[in-house]
């Protein structure tokens, strides 16, 4: 076990900079007192220290992050405890005084940089704006500091990148520019709120490395909020595990990862460590259900999004299509379903060529391919009840009577481990995991032979996502349905897929059985993807960076290669 390198310039002053005691945040609206978001949370952040806040959605981690700046979202109120910054209690000073601290003293880095930048102004204007507005720095000082930070954050051409507009840089670069914006005024505390969650794995590694370097060199204290234990392990000194607004466990990063005390933490850790077993391959020889031959497609007036893609799916198969955003994996699904007509090649279902356009396909062809979406919130009509949602494919495809539809819906609910009484509920009343189960039930109601799963777990919490994967696996064992599994999460792929297709910029770069694609001599891009998946060891990031420094691949380098 290696000792973590300490930054040379790391501040030796390790006095407590933020002291939160018994923080309590509740929702209070016109209609009365709502749920308690944060209940009796205490932490002490020292100068130069990074505390990771981890938990699933609804754990209150973002609320704690914001409340540490004395800020709450609409209708939320800090009702208890003290939040002492330096020697100022943020709850006892005026709103104007608090506002003066935010930015120069405590800075916030949000999840979606794209939504946080104004597209009409250059990056430099926005990076410098706050510190100039607060009168902390002059314009020239701010600009000089910004260029220096761009350099430290490994942004390309740090001297000139500031004159670009937000849409002219990539997502990962924008996220780092946002970190620069937060750092310009040299705040005492940085609050990172899921800063890498929206990024691809390969980009995430680069951002993580930059953030860590920044924090260490400046000796800034930080709260790092994320749902991904492996990510927080790379950056935090201590980790606080949260569940439903309550602290579950708080301790040194290594202790949390290696000797978790609480059952909940143990589950979080074990879900990531487990699951390196490959799904059993099914004997080949059977004719494929879905055969995609040399398919190309593009959106009107745009360059090709997928180019000469071929793959086959057999009964009982789970074929994973992996790649980063922009690799064309979702477009492939649109071509299979007919939402985007293919331009070349052939898509055969059970030996019969499917018409390229959705409206030329007959009802039975539509029935046999179903789809499950990434965001269950928008994949289900919020105004429909479960009976309507799940029952519609039954009555639509099989023309059943009302009673038969109802019986079938109840049977499907039982299969999904959902209570029968849910049948009259509206889909909007369910939780994310329950909604995803309803999506699966709706797909199964059509009795399909192939289900296209488009990032079905990525919008869900880790443990909920695991349950959905287990459910899909069980249904496959019972029904023999095949899955085309579109995902960017290689951890998922290893666990459930027996075949993998790796896509890069619209082309297939590797394909075959999961075991062979993910075994050495893999394609350099597969290696890059695999090595970018964070592992639950605090030393993982150092190892990856060390390997890459000695000549590993990057996406950019691979794209340049012929």
């Amino acid at each position: 076990m290696s000792v973590r390198p300490e930054g040379a310039s790391r501040s030796r002053d390790n006095s407590v900079i933020l002291n939160v005691q018994g923080m309590r945040v509740v929702v209070r609206t016109d209609t009365g007192e709502g749920p308690v978001l944060v209940d009796d949370v205490s932490l002490q952040l020292r100068r130069g220290e990074v505390i990771g806040l981890i938990g699933e959605s609804g754990a209150g981690k973002s609320t704690i992050g914001l409340a540490s700046m004395g800020y709450t979202r609409r209708d939320c109120h800090i009702v208890g405890g003290s939040i002492v910054f330096g020697d100022t209690d943020l709850r006892s000073i005026s709103a104007d005084q608090r506002r003066a601290l935010r930015g120069p003293k405590i800075a916030y880095i949000a999840q979606s940089a794209a939504a946080s930048f104004n597209p009409a102004h250059t990056l430099m204007e926005q990076v410098c704006e706050a510190s100039e507005r607060h009168g902390v720095l002059t314009s020239a000082e701010a600009r000089a500091a910004a260029v220096q930070l761009f350099r430290e954050l490994d942004l390309p051409s740090p001297e000139t990148i500031g004159s670009r507009y937000p849409h002219q840089v990539s997502g990962g670069q924008l996220q780092r520019v946002m970190a620069a914006m937060a750092m310009v005024a040299k705040p005492d505390i940085l609050i990172f709120d899921e800063p890498t969650t929206a990024l691809d794995v390969t980009t995430q590694v680069e951002c993580l490395a930059s953030f860590r370097k920044l924090i260490r060199e400046h000796g800034t204290a930080a709260l790092y909020i994320t749902h991904d234990l492996a990510v927080v392990a790379q950056i935090a000194d201590r980790i606080m595990v949260l569940k439903r607004g309550k602290m579950v466990e708080f301790g040194d990063s290594r202790q949390i990862l290696q000797q978790p005390q609480e059952e909940y933490t143990r589950r979080l850790v074990s879900e990531r460590v487990a699951g390196h077993s490959f799904a059993p391959g099914i004997a080949a020889g059977e004719a494929p259900i879905l055969a995609i031959h040399h398919v190309s497609a593009s959106y009107p007036g745009k360059p090709r999004v997928i180019d000469d893609v071929s793959l086959e799916v057999r009964k009982h198969d789970t074929v994973a299509v992996v790649g980063e955003s922009g690799s064309g994996k979702s477009t492939l699904a649109r071509v299979v379903t007919g939402l985007l007509p293919r331009e070349a090649g052939d898509v055969r279902f059970d030996g019969v060529s499917l018409p390229p356009r959705l409206k030329d396909r007959v009802k039975d062809q539509l029935r046999r391919v179903q789809m499950i979406y990434q965001m269950p919130d928008v994949a289900l009509n919020p105004q429909h009840t479960l009976l309507e949602t799940i029952g519609r494919p039954v009555s639509f495809y099989f023309n059943r009577s009302h009673d038969e539809v109802r019986a079938r819906v109840i049977e499907l609910l039982r299969q999904m481990d959902l209570p029968e009484t849910f049948i009259t509920r509206k889909t909007s009343e369910l939780s994310g995991g329950q909604k995803q189960r309803v999506s699966i039930a709706r797909a199964l109601a059509a009795e399909p032979e192939l289900i296209i799963c488009d990032e079905v777990t990525s919008a869900l919490d880790q443990l909920v996502g695991e349950e959905i994967l287990r459910l899909l696996k069980r249904l496959q064992d019972e029904l023999g349905v095949a899955y085309l599994f579109i995902t960017h999460d290689l951890g998922t792929v290893k666990r459930i897929a027996n075949k993998v297709v790796v896509m890069l910029k619209g082309k297939v770069v590797a394909s075959g059985d999961t075991a062979s694609v993910f075994a050495p001599h893999f394609h350099p891009y597969t290696e890059l993807l695999l090595s970018s998946v964070p592992e639950m060891r605090p030393d993982w990031l150092d190892e990856v960076l060390a390997r890459r420094a000695t000549g590993g691949a990057t996406t950019a380098a691979l794209l340049r290669a012929p």
Binding site: D30, T31, T337, L339, L358, R361, K363, L366, Q370, M371, Y373, M375, V378, A379, L380, N381, P382, Q383, H384, R392, P393, F396, Y397, K426, S428, E429, R442, A446
Partner: protein
């Protein structure tokens, strides 16, 4: 005060009271009005008295009775016209959003064409040529109004159509009627309800304006706009007669707007709440 679990602000309470009062008056006009709206019952411009609280008008009819019958005509007419314009506009707007492509383009450009003409002048031409019979009045204004409903319904529906549950319905093979009525409509109700209130006010004012200009509701039927027109000269002689119908128009319009503001505030914060 609360309605359906939502707190009702003071202005909304006033608005609701005004709307309820007007609706009751409109529904029970024949029972409430002390005299007939069309029959002279005394001298022209008689002063208010115990029998005639607001006095008599230019031909000796009871102003209070005309005001009460006028509520019936003005409100009833506006409601019918607004409902009709929503039926036409919302279905066309949803269909355009769901169909997309050239259908959407053709419908939208046709609506732009109608919108490019000033509404009042357009109504003038039609009503002058075809006469001011009630059905003509209703259909003309409803069609003119439906263009604005079309624009709103289309923009609301375009946001809904881009959601994946609509894509799921398409993949299932559903036809456009199902998508419009079952997938889009239930999710478009809140913004459209608020718009209904506002459009009701505009229609109401538009009819008043047409009546004031002599092209709306024809005598001897009472309606607030034409009452203002008929009585307007008397303001020079110190009579308050034109102020009563004018005030009635103002109060109802403001009342409806209060209610609409309240509904919009529920809609903007109540996403996903309640139900």
């Amino acid at each position: 005060m609360r309605i359906l679990g939502y707190k009702v602000s003071v202005t909304a309470q006033i608005g609701i009271a005004v709307v309820i009062m007007n609706v009751v008056v409109a529904l029970f006009a024949p029972l409430m009005a002390p005299f007939d709206q069309a029959t002279p019952v005394g001298d022209a411009w008689a002063d208010p008295s115990a029998d005639h609280w607001l006095g008599l008008d230019n031909v000796g009819r009871d102003i209070l009775s005309r005001l009460i019958y006028g509520a019936r005509m003005s409100i009833g007419l506006s409601l019918v016209i607004t409902a009709l314009s929503f039926l036409i506009g919302a279905i066309a707007g949803f269909a355009a959003a769901v169909a997309g492509g050239w259908m959407d383009q053709a419908m939208s450009r046709f609506v732009d064409l109608l919108l490019s003409m000033p509404t009042l002048i357009f109504a003038f031409v039609i009503l002058s040529v075809l006469g001011s019979a009630l059905p003509v009045l209703i259909i003309t204004i409803a069609i003119l109004d439906s263009t604005k409903v079309f624009r709103l319904a289309r923009s609301v529906a375009i946001n809904i159509v881009s959601l994946e549950f609509v894509e799921a319905a398409r993949l299932r093979g559903e036809g456009w009627w199902w998508i419009v009525t079952r997938e889009v409509l239930p999710n478009a109700i809140p913004p459209l309800t608020a718009e209904f209130g506002l459009r009701f006010c505009f229609t109401f004012l538009f009819i008043a304006a047409l009546s004031f200009l002599g092209l709306g509701v024809q005598p001897p039927d009472a309606d607030w706009g034409s009452m203002v027109k008929d009585y307007r000269d008397m303001i020079n002689f110190g009579s308050a007669a034109p102020l009563y119908p004018a005030a009635a128009i103002a109060i109802l319009t403001i009342g409806v707007n209060f209610v609409v503001d309240w509904m919009l505030s529920i809609h903007s914060r109540g996403q996903g709440e309640g139900a």
